[in-house]
Homo-oligomer: 210 residues x 2
């Protein structure tokens, strides 16, 4: 029996480095499956259905929720976002971890539903000045958009204490090394190693045959 | 406010490598305090009071228990063993981890009393044949003593599923690396980082002053 796959939840305010860390984690272990969310918001230029998001109509999304096919869902700025359940459960049974790049609302729902299978990590910026700088550095967004993001960042940060682990991203390499340590340790938890029961049965058989 | 010190419980049958792993862990971080147990059994040649054990009379031990000065205690082969409470609590508040090399009875009591502050690791031998070989290799003990130890090993192994982590010690360096990963990750748990609350207060002050 294989190890039971983990659900790794990574949350942070926009600009704290979450997406870079998520990408590095999947590069480190390509067996980690990145959960692609479904959303009712329209695709932006360059986004492909099934890659950035599964783009769904409001009616189709509501149907997925009503038939229990979403692990979590939440409304953000009038659009629905959610994580499809089936691929997550398939990966778990297959011993593969799933990585969720989601906000506190989704994280909270998954934690409540899947409890012991979840490890949640919140990434904090070293300072708000640095968060602001990183958001502006992208150079894509207007001041109004950035102000909106900062307001949302404050709300997101207010949920830091609901996470199992909290890392302050002062330096990307250090933070990534810490994230790896967490993932490696969590994989070793006894509750995630059902094959150990077989191993101990083997030891007991050895005792009996002495 | 410093990190809250961990209580690291290491249990295993005799000969599975627990003592070597404990020594390596303290060598790796000398700030980890090794919990010296109290016992009513008489000292063996070469053992010093306060180093291997705190040697106490039956009456003195009973008094420590009655006055709440023992974190846990249990009787093994007619002798009492237990972990003094005061140095553990002092280390915790000081942000220093305490390492316990104890059996499942002591581990269970500490886990029940100290819950979130505890991380417990059980070390399994790769096989019973190998456990037997390691016990005989020491060359100090009679067959009768070894048979007694093996019976006790089977009983100790039966409690493997009560631990947070279980490692099979096939190779000492690999097992030690895994143990280090566990200790490093557990130190990063949010609940053990009270200074994060101050850090987030600072971020909120930054938001307010914008």
């Amino acid at each position: 029996m294989a190890r039971r796959g983990l659900l790794i939840i990574l949350s942070s305010p926009s600009g704290a480095g979450k997406s870079t860390l998520a990408r590095k984690l999947v590069d480190w272990d390509p067996d980690i499956r990145f959960s692609v969310s479904a959303t009712t918001r329209p695709p932006r230029p360059g986004e492909a259905d099934g890659r950035e998001y599964h783009f769904r109509s409001h009616a189709a999304f509501a149907d997925l929720v009503a038939t229990g096919q979403m692990l979590e869902h939440a409304e953000v700025f009038g659009n629905l976002y959610g994580s499809p359940r089936a691929p997550v459960e398939a990966a778990m049974l297959d011993g593969r971890d799933t990585l969720f790049d989601i906000d506190w609302q989704g994280g909270q729902q998954i934690k409540l539903a899947m409890r012991e299978d979840v490890v949640s990590v919140f990434i904090l910026p070293p300072s708000i000045a640095e968060l602001d700088r990183r958001l502006r550095q992208r150079g894509q967004d207007s001041d109004t958009v950035i102000a909106g993001r900062m307001a949302r960042s404050q709300s997101e940060i207010s949920h830091w204490a609901e996470y199992d682990y909290v890392l302050v991203n002062r330096d990307l390499e250090t933070t990534f090394a810490d994230l790896l340590t967490i993932v490696q340790a969590e994989r070793m938890r006894r509750a995630r190693q059902p094959q150990l029961a077989d191993f101990v049965r083997g030891l007991n058989a050895e005792f009996s045959s002495r």
